[in-house]
C-alpha cells in the first residue's frame, strides 16, 4: 500500500467463479492488479514469465496466488508443487481456493506447502467476506520480505 502495486494471480477455470472473485477483490480494493488464468499451464507460464507472459513489466510477480485445484491441462496441485519446489517462487503465498473439500486434496495441498486452503462458500455473503478477509490478511496484515 506504500506505493508498490500489489498483484494477485487468480488461477480459475470457471469464468463465472473468476468473475465473482474479481468483483469482490475489486470491491474491497485489496489489489492493484488481478491477473486471471484459466488453466495450470497458463499459471506456470505466468510465474515463469513464459510465452504470452514474458513481459515482466506488464505481468509483475504475484504477491498472492489464488489457486483452484481442478484445472485443465495441468492440475492445480501440480502447479502448487512446482511453485513450492522452486526456490525463487516458493515465498509467494499460495492460497488454494477450491470447490473441493476432499480430504485427499487438503492433505496433498499442505504436503506441497500450500500457505492456506479454503473452499469456496456456496453462500454469497460468506464468499464475499472470505475474499475480503483473504485479501486483507495476505496483502495488508501479512508481512512479506520483499
Amino acid at each position: 500500500m506504500i506505493g508498490k502495486p500489489l498483484t494477485i494471480l487468480l488461477v480459475e477455470d470457471n469464468p463465472d467463479h473468476a468473475e465473482l472473485v474479481k468483483r469482490n477483490l475489486e470491491e474491497f480494493q485489496v489489489a492493484n492488479h488481478i491477473f486471471h488464468v484459466e488453466d495450470g499451464e497458463a499459471a506456470l507460464d505466468y510465474v515463469y514469465r513464459r510465452s504470452t507472459y514474458s513481459d515482466q513489466k506488464k505481468f509483475s510477480r504475484p504477491d498472492l496466488i489464488l489457486l483452484d485445484l481442478r484445472l485443465p491441462r495441468i492440475d492445480g496441485l501440480e502447479v502448487l508443487k512446482q511453485i513450492k519446489r522452486d526456490l525463487t517462487l516458493q515465498a509467494i503465498p499460495v492460497v488454494v481456493l477450491t470447490t473441493s473439500d476432499a480430504e485427499k486434496d487438503l492433505a496433498q495441498a499442505y504436503e506441497y506447502h500450500a500457505n492456506s486452503y479454503v473452499t469456496k462458500p456456496v453462500n454469497f455473503e460468506n464468499f464475499s467476506r472470505l475474499l475480503r478477509d483473504l485479501g486483507y490478511y495476505w496483502l495488508a496484515w501479512n508481512k512479506r520480505p520483499w
Binding site: R70, S100, K104, V122, F124
Partner: protein, 772 residues
C-alpha cells in the same frame, strides 16, 4: 640194432635146428620100426621113403652125418630083412645098393647143407666145424648182457627213485647209494661214497643213532620198517623228518652181510599234517565257540555233524544222539518239509541259500526266528555231497524290526499324508539345500524336490529341475532371492515376501521356512491374478473416488455460480446498480443449464453399468455408416471428409452403446479439428498382435502425450474454450470397458492429429457373460 636182430634170429635158428634133429631121430626110429612093413607092402618104392630120414639127417648133421644116416638105414634094412633073404638074391643086392645110395644121398644133402643152405634158411652159418662152439659162445654172451642190462635197469631205477636208498656192508660202509641219497649227503658220484660211513656225513649224535639202529638189525636179523626219525640237514641246518626202513641182506647161508636202507623225506608231509592239525584245532575252536549254530548234512539232508551251539539248541549232550536225523525229526513235519525242499534244490542246483529268514513254531507257542545260510559241500571231484549251514537266532532282531516296521508304517502314513498334501497343494512347494563353498560361505542352492503346483506355476518340470543348482536352472549368476533364502536357511526364522519374478513375469508370494540348518523350503503362491484383481479394484476405487469427487466438485461449481451471482445481483439491486443485471442473470441461467446437463450425463453414465440392451451381432460397418449419417449436419458444417475403411468386423454387443462410442469419437474428432484446412476423419480397423483394433483417426489438434490418460476421466476437459461437459470420453471409456475392451489415444501431440482406438472382447466371452 640190425646186428641184434641177426643175433636173435641166430639163436632162434639153433633152437629150430635142435628141433629138427630131434624130429629126424624120431623119424629115423619110426622108419626103423616101420621099414619091414613098408617094404613088404610097397616093394621097391619103400626104398624111396627111407630116404626121407636120411635127407633130413643130412640136412641137420652135415655131409658126414648124412652119409652115416644112409649107412645106418642100409644096415638096419639088411639086418631086418637080409637074413631071411637068400644070399646073392636080387632082393639082397637091392638092399645093399639101397643102403649105399642112401649114404650117398645123405652125404650130398649134408654137403649142401654145410655149404650155404642152412645160412640161407636160418641166417646162421651152420657149418659143422663152428656150429657148437658158436652156440656156446652166443649163450654166454647173452647171459652176460642180460645180467648187465638188469643191473643197469636196477641202478637206473634206484637212481631215479625220490627216496634215499643205500646199501651198507657189515662194517657200516656204504656200498651202494642212489642219486637221491648221494645228493642228500652232498655228493654227486657213487665212487665218492664208497667205503665211507654215516660218521663222514652226519653229526656224531645222529651217526651214532643210525649205527645203533643198524646194529639192532644186524643182531636181530629183523627189518626196521617205516619209522620216523628227525634228521638235521648238515648243509642247511634245518631239521628234516625221514620215514626210514632198514632191511638186512643175507648171503646164501643166511648170514647177514649188509643192510639196505630206504628213507623218505616227509618234512613237507609233516608240515601239512601239523597245519592240518592246527587247522582242525582252529576249526574246532571256531565251531564250538561261535554263537551261531553250524551243521553239516548229507545228500539226504541228514545231520552229519554240528557244533556245540547247535547241540545246545537241540538240547543234546552227545552228537551221536542226533547224527542221521533230519529237520523233520527234530523240528517237526512242517518245517522239515520246507527245509528239505530248499536243501534238495540247493544240492541239485549248487546255488547257495544266503541269509534266509526262517520261522518255526516252538512247543510253547513262541515263534523262533532264524537267519540261515546254507552252501553246498563238494567232494574232490566237485560233486555235491551235502551241505553246510550256519544259522543264527534273530528273535530279538525280528522283534525290533517288527517294532520298527510298525513305526515305519506310522511314519509312512504320515509321510503319505504329507506327500498327498505336497502333491495337491495349490501353492508351489520346492525343497532346497544350500550349497557352501570351502570357506563355508553359501554360494548357491540346489532344488531337491518340487511339487506339481510348482511345475504348473513355473513351467519348470520336476525331472528337469530336481537336483539342479538354482543358478543353472534359472540361468542367473546369483540365484533368485538368494539373500533372503540364505538368511532363512541360516537363522531358521521364517520369512514371507511378495515379489514380481521377472523371468516368468508373474507376481509371487513366497514363504520361506527352514526345516533344518542349511535347507529351506519355499512355498509360493502365484498372486499375479490377485494382484491384477487388486489393481483393478484399486483402479475402480480410485475411479469411484474420482467420480464422487468430480460429482461433488462439478455439481457444486454451478451452484456457487448461481448463488454467487444471485447474491451479487441482490447486492446491486439494493445498491440501485442495474448495468450488470442482464449478464448476471444469464450466468445464473447458464449455470443452472449446465447443472441440468451434468445431472443428465451422470444419469446416463450410471445407466451404462446397470442397464444393458440385449447384446446382438453388430455389423460395425453398417453401424458406423449409420452414425456418420446421424452426424451429417455437423460434418458438413465443418467441411470434414469422413472415410469409412472397408472390413470393419462383425462384433457382438450392445448396438446402441457401440453407436454412442462411435458417435462420441467422431464428434470429438470433428470438434477438435482446430484450424485444419483439410479436415479428415478415417474410421477403420487393424490387427495389433492378433487383437482387433477399431480406430477413429483425425488430423486435428491432437492430444499432448501428457493427457493421454486423463483425457478419459470424468468431466476432464483439456480446453475450457470448447463446449461440452467433459463426459464424452468418460462415456466411451465406460462402454468399451463394459464390453471387455480397452480404449486409448495415440497422438504425437499438438498439431499431429489423434487416433482413438478401442478393442472389444472376443464375441465368445461377451456372449458368455450375458448368458450368465
Amino acid at each position: 640194432m640190425t646186428e641184434r636182430i641177426k643175433k636173435e634170429s641166430g639163436l632162434r635158428s639153433y633152437i629150430l635146428q635142435g628141433a629138427l634133429v630131434t624130429l629126424a631121430i624120431l623119424l629115423l626110429v619110426l622108419y626103423v620100426c616101420m621099414f619091414s612093413r613098408i617094404h613088404q607092402q610097397m616093394g621097391e618104392t619103400g626104398g624111396i621113403i627111407i630116404l626121407i630120414p636120411v635127407i633130413l639127417s643130412a640136412w641137420v648133421l652135415g655131409a658126414r652125418g648124412g652119409m652115416l644116416a644112409g649107412l645106418i638105414v642100409g644096415l638096419v634094412n639088411l639086418f631086418l630083412h637080409g637074413f631071411t633073404l637068400q644070399y646073392g638074391s636080387m632082393e639082397f643086392v637091392s638092399i645093399i645098393i639101397g643102403g649105399i645110395i642112401a649114404s650117398i644121398i645123405g652125404w650130398v644133402t649134408g654137403r649142401f647143407s654145410e655149404l650155404r643152405i642152412s645160412s640161407l634158411l636160418f641166417g646162421v652159418d651152420l657149418s659143422t666145424d663152428t656150429r657148437w662152439h658158436k652156440v656156446a659162445e652166443l649163450l654166454r654172451k647173452r647171459t652176460k648182457e642180460m645180467a648187465a642190462r638188469e643191473r643197469n635197469l636196477l641202478r637206473t631205477l634206484i637212481d631215479n627213485l625220490p627216496d634215499n636208498i643205500y646199501v651198507k656192508d657189515d662194517k657200516g660202509r656204504y656200498v651202494i647209494n642212489n642219486m637221491a641219497h648221494l645228493r642228500s649227503i652232498g655228493l654227486s658220484k657213487q665212487e665218492e661214497a664208497l667205503g665211507k660211513t654215516s660218521f663222514d656225513f652226519f653229526s656224531d649224535l645222529l651217526a651214532k643213532k643210525f649205527t645203533s639202529d643198524e646194529q639192532a638189525v644186524f643182531e636181530t636179523g629183523e627189518a626196521l620198517l617205516n619209522y620216523e626219525e628227525e634228521v638235521l640237514d648238515a648243509k642247511t641246518g634245518k631239521l628234516h623228518w625221514h620215514l626210514t626202513t632198514k632191511v638186512p641182506i643175507k648171503d646164501n647161508h643166511g648170514k647177514i652181510i649188509g643192510i639196505v636202507g630206504v628213507s623218505r623225506d616227509i618234512t613237507e608231509r609233516k608240515k601239512i599234517e601239523e597245519a592240518l592239525k592246527n587247522e582242525k584245532a582252529f576249526l574246532d575252536a571256531l565251531m564250538d565257540n561261535i554263537p551261531d549254530s553250524i551243521f553239516f548234512k548229507d545228500r539226504q539232508c541228514r545231520l552229519l555233524r554240528m557244533n556245540r551251539k547247535e547241540m545246545q539248541d537241540l538240547n543234546v549232550d552227545d552228537m551221536s544222539q542226533i547224527v542221521g536225523k533230519t529237520d523233520a525229526d527234530l523240528w517237526g513235519e512242517e518245517f522239515g518239509r520246507k527245509t528239505f525242499t530248499d536243501e534238495q534244490r540247493l544240492m541239485e542246483s549248487g546255488e547257495p541259500i544266503i541269509g534266509l529268514v526262517e520261522s518255526r513254531k516252538l512247543e510253547d507257542g513262541q515263534t523262533n526266528w532264524t537267519w540261515t545260510t546254507k552252501v553246498p559241500l563238494r567232494d574232490d571231484n566237485g560233486q555235491i555231497v551235502g551241505l553246510v549251514g550256519i544259522s543264527r537266532g534273530i528273535n530279538d532282531l525280528m522283534k525290533a524290526q517288527q517294532e520298527r516296521e510298525k513305526l515305519l508304517t506310522n511314519l509312512s502314513d504320515s509321510e503319505h499324508k504329507f506327500r498327498t498334501l505336497f502333491e495337491n497343494l495349490t501353492e508351489g512347494v520346492a525343497l532346497h539345500e544350500m550349497i557352501y563353498d570351502e570357506n563355508g560361505k553359501a554360494v548357491d542352492y540346489r532344488i531337491l524336490d518340487i511339487n506339481p503346483s510348482y511345475e504348473k506355476h513355473t513351467g519348470l518340470l520336476h525331472k528337469k529341475a530336481k537336483g539342479l543348482l538354482a543358478s543353472v536352472l534359472y540361468g542367473t549368476a546369483t540365484p533368485p532371492y538368494f539373500e533372503e533364502f540364505e538368511r532363512v536357511a541360516r537363522t531358521g526364522v521364517p520369512y514371507t515376501f511378495e515379489t514380481y519374478f521377472l523371468p516368468l513375469e508373474r507376481h509371487f508370494r513366497i514363504g520361506v521356512v527352514s526345516p533344518k540348518q542349511g535347507t529351506f523350503a519355499t512355498v509360493f503362491e502365484d498372486i499375479t491374478e490377485r494382484r491384477q484383481k487388486q489393481k483393478e479394484l484399486q483402479d475402480k476405487n480410485a475411479e469411484l473416488e474420482r467420480f464422487t469427487y468430480t460429482v461433488s466438485h462439478d455439481l457444486k461449481s454451478p451452484l456457487i455460480t448461481i448463488k454467487g451471482f444471485a447474491g451479487a445481483l441482490l447486492h446491486d439491486v439494493i445498491a440501485g446498480r442495474y448495468q450488470r443485471l442482464e449478464s448476471d442473470l444469464r450466468r445464473i441461467a447458464d449455470a443452472a443449464d449446465k447443472m441440468g446437463g451434468l445431472l443428465g450425463n451422470l444419469l446416463e453414465l450410471s445407466r451404462i453399468g446397470r442397464i444393458m440392451n440385449p447384446p446382438s451381432d453388430v455389423n460395425l460397418s453398417e453401424l458406423t455408416q449409420e452414425v456418420v449419417g446421424l452426424l451429417a449436419g455437423t460434418i458438413t458444417e465443418h467441411e470434414v471428409e469422413v472415410v469409412i475403411q472397408p472390413g470393419l468386423p462383425m462384433v457382438y454387443g450392445d448396438q446402441r452403446r457401440l453407436a454412442q462410442v462411435l458417435q462420441n469419437l467422431i464428434e470429438n474428432a470433428v470438434k477438435f479439428m482446430g484450424n485444419q484446412t483439410n479436415p479428415h476423419i478415417e474410421i477403420g480397423t487393424r490387427k495389433d498382435h492378433e487383437e482387433q483394433v477399431i480406430y477413429v483417426q483425425d488430423n486435428g489438434i491432437g492430444v499432448d502425450p501428457r493427457y493421454h490418460k486423463t483425457v478419459f476421466g470424468l468431466f476432464n476437459k483439456l480446453d475450457t474454450g470448447t463446449h461440452g461437459t467433459g463426459i464424452g470420453l468418460a462415456l466411451v471409456h465406460r462402454i468399451v470397458e463394459i464390453h471387455g475392451g480397452r480404449v486409448w489415444v495415440e497422438s504425437q501431440g499438438k498439431g499431429f492429429g489423434a487416433t482413438f482406438c478401442f478393442t472389444l472382447s472376443s464375441n465368445h466371452s461377451m456372449r458368455k457373460e450375458h448368458e450368465q
